[in-house]
Symmetry: C3
Subunit: 149 residues, 3 copies
Amino acid sequence: MPHLVLYYTANLEHDIDIPPLCRALADTMLEIRDENGAAVFPVGGVRVLAYPAAHHAVADGGKAGLEQAHAFSHGAGDYAFIYLNLRMGRGRSAQTHQRIGTALETTLKNTFTPLLEKRPIGVTFQIDEGPEVFDMKLSSLHPLFKKGS
Amino acid sequence: MPHLVLYYTANLEHDIDIPPLCRALADTMLEIRDENGAAVFPVGGVRVLAYPAAHHAVADGGKAGLEQAHAFSHGAGDYAFIYLNLRMGRGRSAQTHQRIGTALETTLKNTFTPLLEKRPIGVTFQIDEGPEVFDMKLSSLHPLFKKGS
Amino acid sequence: MPHLVLYYTANLEHDIDIPPLCRALADTMLEIRDENGAAVFPVGGVRVLAYPAAHHAVADGGKAGLEQAHAFSHGAGDYAFIYLNLRMGRGRSAQTHQRIGTALETTLKNTFTPLLEKRPIGVTFQIDEGPEVFDMKLSSLHPLFKKGS
């Protein structure tokens, strides 16, 4: 924890290079500081996983986009969608949630705002606090960063 | 939001054509009305994403099915499973949840009931209200339908 | 229900054979007993689905691992990560959650502990009780085991 999972329509890969987006999101997570200036997430705990869907259906399937195709440069009838879910541990303050959210929102806007004008696309990003009733971790990642700091 | 995600054993693709199922589920979501006759979901917010698993293990791995192979036309020892999760915003009434659930249940039964007799298969569909502590949306999809209506 | 979903960096497949891991996890779930010695999960309800990510970013992207490459046999700069989430129905006791968790933890340690020393890897396993507001099941799997018992 925390981990950020990207679920998206595979047609998004025509326009967005996903590996650098994953890296930019991870870097943003690494940089987030809380109200006291401390890193919110431990380096070894930052994970971003991206999953293009094998199949999808979005909205009306493209009809409205095709009717307004003049407003887009491409993909007017081939809607794209990405859902990003960040799951993190319980107990951080609402202020910290807001800091995390707005930092990642900025990174997402850098990537997606230019694309929004070109093709019909939906971006949703949400943060959940995990409601887990059992939690287990094994790691040879975390020690790398304890040694280093 | 809302989005409906399908997680399933890849062997299901032998029997079910997943893209039309995604479309049928999206169309059902578009048609659902609340107690006052208003559409429950905005057109631009309806998304269905389908993910066949790369690997899976179900129940006893096929033993019981093979022992009762006479009861099935195929796949007796090759169990299939699909889990559908609809995540939507908080605040709708229990009655609306029920309407959404039963509408999608009908669509699922149309597709899966005939298959249940042919091969061992499990279908689970659940609706969650998102517990998010941060929520962000960007969209050039929604405006398509505001213009159009 | 219950279902266990594995989300992981695809580089894990170099070291771990995922199908037998899925089977071992399912077998563990089948063997778990509650405080009264009864099976916690019905045979036909046990499902494990595994999803390698198409793309990922973990921690600092490999820098710290490369600097400490002498400590690993391979993959020092190519971090691996797996997240396992078990979602099950509400209403079981905290003691039962603990039994389920520790049983699966043992299976996970059997697989991952030897690997932890070889390459930088993170393993997180969590159990959630489903917060669903609607729940539907169709199954020709469950009857196989009712007949058999």
